[in-house]
Each structure stands twice: as structure tokens, then as C-alpha cells.
Assembly symmetry: C2
Homo-oligomer: 491 residues x 2
Amino acid sequence: MFESAELNHSISDGKYDREMPKLREALLKAQYDLLKDKSFPVIIIIGGVDGAGKGETVNILNEWMDPRHIVTHAFGEMSDEERERPRMWRYWRALPPKGHIGILFGAWHTDPIVNRVMGKISNVQLALAMEEIVRFERMLVDEGALILKFWFHLSKRVQKKRLRALEADPKTRWRVTDTDWERFKLYDKFRKVSETALRETSTGDAPWTVVEGTDPNYRYLTVGRTLLDALKKRLAGDKPAVTRTAALPKPALDGRTVLSRLNYSKTLDHKIYRRQLEKYQGELNLLSRHKKFRNKSLIIVFEGVDAAGKGGSIRRITGALDARHYNVIPVAAPTEEERAQPYLWRFWRYLPRTGRITIFDRSWYGRVLVERVEKFCSEQDWMRAYHEINDFEAQLVETGDIVLKFWLTITKEEQLRRFREREKTPFKSFKITPEDWRNRKKWNDYERAVCDMIERTSNDRAPWVLVAANDKYSARIMILKTLCERMTAVL
Amino acid sequence: MFESAELNHSISDGKYDREMPKLREALLKAQYDLLKDKSFPVIIIIGGVDGAGKGETVNILNEWMDPRHIVTHAFGEMSDEERERPRMWRYWRALPPKGHIGILFGAWHTDPIVNRVMGKISNVQLALAMEEIVRFERMLVDEGALILKFWFHLSKRVQKKRLRALEADPKTRWRVTDTDWERFKLYDKFRKVSETALRETSTGDAPWTVVEGTDPNYRYLTVGRTLLDALKKRLAGDKPAVTRTAALPKPALDGRTVLSRLNYSKTLDHKIYRRQLEKYQGELNLLSRHKKFRNKSLIIVFEGVDAAGKGGSIRRITGALDARHYNVIPVAAPTEEERAQPYLWRFWRYLPRTGRITIFDRSWYGRVLVERVEKFCSEQDWMRAYHEINDFEAQLVETGDIVLKFWLTITKEEQLRRFREREKTPFKSFKITPEDWRNRKKWNDYERAVCDMIERTSNDRAPWVLVAANDKYSARIMILKTLCERMTAVL
């Protein structure tokens, strides 16, 4: 992989001076076209060996184009707010919005590579990390992003010379640190691990461009042209095909589903309800103040058919908690800033710090429910959402978050009864809109979508809990009890 | 101030049970009206002595109303991202958007009070801090916020009893920490300082309600009713009058202004320009890597007439810097999320961490320039903006940020020449729009606005630098030189 970047590639000053102005002008034009077009973000990832001119190249890109519409992020030490979230959170918050260029300096590839070189993770763990990255970048591409990845390479001999030269010059001495020499000692290992990592993450959608870092002219023109070509191609409408996913299984012939098997006739006496409510709320309160919970966070998702009692259930949970520890996120239409980002961005931004609880009232599952049924997104989009969501939740669980998802369901008759009651009660009438009646007409479509969703996204680590909620009391107790059991099991 | 909160106020359970359901229903209704109305945010500030039921009351509010549209923030230890910004940054990021209720637990009043009690600041410093708070809250109110401030009080005797009782009960023991007892020893001092602080920050726009914390029934009903009354009044259209500000002075009779006295005929030979550019860019680069700069940040504002060369000047600055250290924020129309917040919010969110540089290409001065001239906001709004901006910048400077503001100006003839040139050059034609021509017709109005702006917002700590930019070379050098001098002076 690196052989072709050890050929002492170089470009004469004369040729550079002839080509550069044209390239620069074309890049600037493409940047403004992108800004006007506003339909996709450009993500430029910069990696590679020390001293190979990564920083200089990024500076040149900022010089050639309009720096006002480029955001450059370097990922150094994590801040404490970053440490308390899943590993990828810091990258999500750095993603450029549509129409903009984001340069990510040492992004998601860096840690796994360095950790492998340092022996902190095994080859298998490295492979898994790379696989995760491939899926993540695939998601970005499917969401419309144009990703360009540049790896700056130097042969061992040249790197040594380069570091020595930088050190010799008083003006550049500051750039060579002990860490650089420490890392140089690991050159061979670093090379080997990088090669594996690059090979495994060089996909058709987001390939690596290996750039020999010896000659600045060569370096700048290579990166500039690669970027220009990709930008122009994309602006001309050449979009990569969205990931194919396997077709969904047809519903079972006998019509039996996980929903039809629920027991909707369970009831709970009010007196027992009051007693159990107090019991489980007390338990939940203690659990939320558990010592071990200080390093974890709890994410609860509420989804369900209209009028199934999500709001009431959420209030029974928050009623047990200290308002300083939780946050309820009602999910409605995305804002303009959210629409300029990948679909999951608007949920990532609300992930809690450790010791805290976030309750999503509706969630990322909107993609495979309402957006699927109402055709707000293409079939490709909601089909790929299943594994995107699974990847997302896997990261939460891996970080130590407790993830629980409740599906609240009532029978069609019970829904009708509740709709009518809402219409009659002045105090509740704001809760019933023509949209609710429209959704009701699509009951079967929704049911199909729900069954597919449960089939594809329920798993041990982030299970769906199906709650037959015709009887509010028993539903609420079931929810609180499940929550307590889950937290007890994890803590 | 606290005498009337030491009268053992209490409300019988019977009365409470009769009143509470009505209050609760009315509050919920008012909350939904607020959500529909979406024209103002509600900020509830909670302060007071330990054990007076602050937490319980906040929980009750969340129970009575819909917790999905309330955000509760408790301000504990600062995160490192917060420590690297001005003191008020953490509060700005916690402000609720219009239509929502934000409960701030121990907000901006807390630190000054605690610091005075601990003897860390003097009485004068406390008074200054309170004055700052009054101005901050005034700004929030002028921006439309409804602010409610509750101070929970207990007499010394009752607090002691309360802490003992909490400690005696195994279920509540965790709530009493050593810090609570440490603080109790300072009760008298705390009472005295709080009284001063409350008196000085109890304004007509945002008065304190002192709530005796002894009896829960009394506490909950008092807070609930106060909130309900304020919400209903405001929803009914009763908005406080916006702050009056002193009239602006008329322009001088002889027509002489700071702008007319600039020397527009300065020029700089290209060769000298190249040499000086290199010199100052090199200097700026070294300064940006200065050890002392790691604890500071640099905020540069660019404003100027159309076609005065802001973009080119910014590129000469960024060209000297490492892309990892700066960020350019082009200021255009606010996004939907920004429109739901006070005017300055969209600038606060981009304040840099330490060791970093943020360049604003147009800025918060839009309020007193384009918004004033084009009448996008009321006279009251831009009139009060002068001192709001001064307060904002004072906070930046106080934090150790270096603030520099450049006003780039060219003569009317030179602007015409540049507009025409832009129209003729295909590469630059995107830079000239009908709006530019429209603005040009209002040249005199803008000039008047600029003179007022400089008069009112230029000061030693955050000075305006007026740059006559008919000659681009001399303008750029002047900007770079000023920047270097300022940084050298501060570092």
C-alpha cells in the first residue's frame, strides 16, 4: 500500500507555479458551488506519519479556498464532557453541515491505530474497530456526505531526515517533540498497523488516498486535485448509490405477530397500583443515586401508538427522580440545523453526561416508523436505518450506558375510545389532532413497521419491552418494574 | 427582607388538597399556551439555603406540568470546556428557547454570594457582580424572557432542625453532607450577604420572591401561584416596557466625523508590502504559539462597508496561522434555533476555548448597523444593544480574551469602482448582489450608524481600529501590525 508513496514523487517549481493558480481558482469556484448547492457536506480526513506535511497541507487548503466556510478540527486530549460520552460523540459534534467543508485532523482512525501500535488492543480488536469505522463512514456516505481521506506517508529514512531537519532549524524546532521520536522508534510497527487499518477502511465510498509527503509541491497538488475532482464530480450529480440491504421477510402467513400475542386484558386494582407505584418509584430513586450509576448513564426510549399513554408513563418515571438528574427530549420535526446533518445527529447531541438520565419521547425509531409509513424518506433510507440504529445503540451500550426501549401498544378499539374521550374533555382536547385520525387509518401499515422494527432492533443489550397498555395502571407498573430490574442487573 | 419569611407560614393539608388540583390544571394549561405561543422563554431561578426544599419544589413543578417541555439545569463543578470560557458561558448554553421553561438551579447569583461569604471577594466586588447581573437580566427581559426568581429561606433555628431531621432519617441522610454543616456555621454571614445580593438584584423586571421553606404546602402553592400569575399575565399580552436609553447625540454641525478624518490616499508599494506581509505574518505565527497565549484566546471582529476587503484581510491573518488554532465564523441570517434565543446567543456559542482564535466576519454589531439602518429591529432594540455589547465584550476581556475590532472603510468612489470590477470579472461576480447596490444607496445612513457605533463601543480594552482601505496593501499591513502589537502588549 505504501510502496507507491516511497518513489520520491516530486513536482518541479515551474510546473507547480503553472498549475497551482488554475487549481486554486477551480477549487474556490467548486467551494462556492458547494455552498450554493447546500445538499451535502464534505468531510476531509487527514492522517499519517509525523513530519509528512499534514499541517502544511491543511493550511494550504485553507489558503486556497475561502477559510470562512471551512472548519478545521484537531482532536487532542478529550475534554471531560467528551470523556463522559460514547467515543464517537466528539466526532459527531465536529461534523460539518451541508454546504460546508470540515477538515478532521486525526479523526476516528487514529486511536485504534495508536492503541494497536502501543499494544493496548489486539489484532482482533483492531479489526473490529476498523469494521465499525467502515459502517460509520458508509452511514455518512448514505446520508449524503462526500468523504475524502488522505494518508500522508514518509519512508523511514525520509522521516528520520525530516525530523532531524525540523529540529535543526530554530524556527521549526518547536514542532518536534519527544513523542515524535518515541513514535519514530515504532516506525515499523506503525507502518504495519496503519497498512492493515487503511486496507480495511479503504472502501469504494470512502477510499484512502496515500500521499507521499516528501515534496511539498507534489503533496499540495495531489491533495488539491483529488479534492477538486471529487467535488466537481459530486456537484455534477454523480452520487454514490445508497447501500443495498436485504429485503425484509414477509409477515407470517398465519398473521401471528409479537403484538398479537400480548395480553391486553391484564388489569391492576387501583389500590395495588398505588402501593406498587410507591414501591418501584422508591426503588428507582435509590438506583438513580447508586454509587455505580455515577459512571453510567441511562437512556430510555418511549415509542408507541397514539394515545397509548407515553406521556403518563414518562411522568411516573420522572416523578421518582430528581429533576437535576434527568432530561426529557420530546422528538418533533428536526430543526434547520438538524436537517443539515446526518439523521442521527439530532439524537447524538442530546446524549447525557454520566450520572444522568435522558428520556426520549419518540426517538430515532421515527425513521422506521412514521417516516417509513408516510414515505417521508426512501425505502433505501429506512432499510439501512435498522443497522445504523443498531450500531448507534451498540456504541451506547459499549460506553456503559443503560439502554431501554418501551413500545406501548393498545388495541384498536381502546384507541378509538381514548380518542373520543380526548375530544370530549376540554382539558385533553389539545392532545387530539386530525393527524391522529389519519395515522389511525394506517393502523395495519404501522403494525407491520413495528413488527419489523422489533425483529431487527431488539437485542439483549438494548431490548425492546412490549407493553400492552389498555390498562394504564398495569402498564406503568410494568415499565417501572422493568426499569428497576434492568438497572439492578447492570449496577 | 427575610423577616416575612420567618413567620412560620403554613397551609393546612385540607386547603392544599382543595387548591392544588386547580392550580396544577391551570399551570399545565398555561404551559401549553406558552408552547403554542412560542414568543418568549420562561426562566425560573432557584436559590436559597440548604434544606429549604428547593429540590422538592422543582420536582413538584416538573410533576405538575409536562416535564417534556421543562429543562432543569443544576450548576455544579464547571467542566473544562466551561472553565475555558467567560464565566457566563455555561448559563448562556443553558438558556431555554422560546416557548419553553428552563429551571436554573443555583444560577449566576450563587458564585458571587458564596465567594463573598468565604471572603474571596470584597463588598465592592459583590456589588459590581450584582450590578452585572442586573444588567444581564435586564437584557434577557428586553429580549422577551419572563424571569422568575425564587429564594428559599429558613430561619437559623429551623434550618438546624431541618438538617438534623434529614440526617436522622436513613432515607434522606444522603442529602446532608459535611458541606451543608460547614455552610450552616456561616449562616449569619450567608444571610447578611444574601440579603444584600437579593436587594440589589430585585428589580421591577425580575424581582425575587422569598419563599419560607418550612412548610411544603405553603412552599409549593406560593411558587406555583406566583408562576401561574406571571405566565397568565404575560400570555395575556402584558409585556414589560423595553429599557429606555438616552438619545444619541446629533451628528456634529460641521459634518466632521472619525471616518472623514481618515487618510484614504495612503498607498504601499507592492515590494514593501510583500516584505512587511512576511514579517508580520511570521510575528503573528510566533505570537499564536506563545506560551502565555495557551491560557487566553483571541477574538477578532471584522466589520466594514461592502467591498472594503474584509475577506482578503481575514485570509492574510489565517494565512499566518495554523488551521488547527483558528475558526472563522461568517455571520449571516440567524438559524431557527438562534432566533429562539436572545440576540447575542448565536455569538456566545462560538466563543473559542483557550489557545484559540475566532475571527468573526461580521458580528454582533449587525444589530447597530444593518438592523438599525434597515429597520429589522426597533429603535429600542438597537439603542439598548450598545450597552449589551459593551457588557458582553467586557466579560470577554475580563476572562483574559484579547478582543480587537476592525472597521474597514473605503470612499464611495472606490466602492463604485470595485462593484463595477466585480461585475465584470466572472470569477468575482458572485460577490456582488442587488443587495450591495441597495446598501450603497443608504451610504449616509450607514455612515451615521458607524459613527454612533464607534462612539459608543470603542474602548481601551476592546478598541475599534479604523482602517482606510482604499489601498488594500496598506490596509492589510495595518491590520496585521495592529494585531501583533496588541498581542505583544497583552502577552
